[in-house]
Symmetry: C2
Subunit: 334 residues, 2 copies
Amino acid sequence: MPELRKDPVTGRWVIIAEERSRRPSDFLRESVPPPALDGRICPFCPGQEAKTPPEVFAWRTAGRANEPGWDVRVVPNKFPALRIEGGLDRRPDGMFDRMNGVGAHEVIIETPDHGAVLSTLADRQIELVLSAFRERVADLKRDRRFGYTMLFKNHGAAAGASLEHSHSQLVALPATPKRVQEELDGARRYFEFKERCIFCDIVRQEAGSPRLVLETGRFLVIAAYAARFPFETWIIPKDHDSHFEYADGPTLANLAWVLGATLRKMERTLERPPYNFMIHTAPLQDPAMQHYHWHLELIPRLSRIAGFEWGSGFYINPTPPEEAAKFLRESGVG
Amino acid sequence: MPELRKDPVTGRWVIIAEERSRRPSDFLRESVPPPALDGRICPFCPGQEAKTPPEVFAWRTAGRANEPGWDVRVVPNKFPALRIEGGLDRRPDGMFDRMNGVGAHEVIIETPDHGAVLSTLADRQIELVLSAFRERVADLKRDRRFGYTMLFKNHGAAAGASLEHSHSQLVALPATPKRVQEELDGARRYFEFKERCIFCDIVRQEAGSPRLVLETGRFLVIAAYAARFPFETWIIPKDHDSHFEYADGPTLANLAWVLGATLRKMERTLERPPYNFMIHTAPLQDPAMQHYHWHLELIPRLSRIAGFEWGSGFYINPTPPEEAAKFLRESGVG
């Protein structure tokens, strides 16, 4: 019997179609090939710094700004969706509302090594990437025009990556994205009723559940109870914190290992799939919140989304989360 | 300067990236090939009725049930995402909520002609398809387990169609889909403030706007003000009605022409793109509402969706709606 499950945070119902159950080998195969230069010049490689806009941040052991010697380098997107200059100028348009597309759009180049992918980097290198995330958010927070910072990664062309050199992205926006606002609203309703953070309750319950993928002293990795997509996986810090940028050094160090291990499990189980991840965090200018809890959502791109899902926001997931978690747990890597 | 626009119904912000502006010729080309049997046997063709589950409805001029002679035929999906039998059995699962996957999943075979596509059918045939939609919804409404009926179409493999013989689908669900619930909530808030239907106000304002694609006595076709996707197009009845299934004969007759004309404009402008449409209507068991207004949302599949959009619900649309509407208006077909 197929089952309907409700996401406890957003209230979204999902069909878990067990009888159509699909194992890792049943999915569309679009493995991401290992990055290779093949004689081409890559603007994210050391020595090509002039091919990007000037860097806004770097972790480096040698060289000056915009020279080789960096470990992680952050540059503005050459083709930004938003512009950094000017005021928002919020205004009506008849019955509608508009404002200027003011924001920041940055690229975090995760390694100087063109042949590397995030999952194969040393823990210390992933930690530098996460620290660069935190530094950039802390810096953009000083600009009061920005209400939200999204940190995300598109891995593989099928997941939207236009350059193969390993990188993630940051977008600073004047408004909170709708999906995050739904989480904030749902988490607030739960808090009003229970006087507890819903994510803290999920951590408590899922630690012993068949949806558990991985657990460390500081993080829980789980298949989401009402996962929209096969192998949708969440990384949640065990200790309550509303904002990613408040994470301390030991937390980022542990997250580096957890993220790498989770990606390695996914790449082994699903044969290097394209994937997206995004960090969901509280709005930039809001103070620390009792009811919201930052986390990372990771989604491999395994199947096409049909009109049913688009038009409705009602998803059909052919892989029960308990089975997805089992495959990841038993993948033999970590 | 890029612009941020807010969808007035759901409150979702969208980036309209004018400087990345993309014309019809700039998009990924995945034209849907004309249907052709090439010697294969199609379960939706006349004479193959035994290859589908027994029909639940048909418009026919000859023959008996499950025989040739039909103009439009409705059958249960052979691989349904939901099952028609049994009770919902709503129950907790620790802190979570689940229920049985009870629902209906039907296929509306739009024509006996394997070589036809919806946009090329005669107006009268499209009207039969729309009447079949209405008949099925009216029938399923009698089953109090079902809270919502979704009518949608996936055209082309890239839009999720698994069989090429022209068809649309109906899913009856116990719960209202999230995207529709957001519209219901937003429309209610607007009504509480203005004491008017927001869709009626959109009809009044957009009739004279550069986003107008087509207007008849009964319908308005517009590019959505805060369109998430390039060429996202809405068909809205001018007269207020919350439920699609209350549409009368003359309204469906006019919609048949309007839908056909809109699809022909889109197919000419974008070279037969894959597309999805969905009818957004009020929940099945609710009485007529003053604040909600049924409509049809049509989205051609022109570009891949990246991690940014997935994770955030924040869309970047590279084609301003005013330009999309102009291309469709001037397509030379109707």
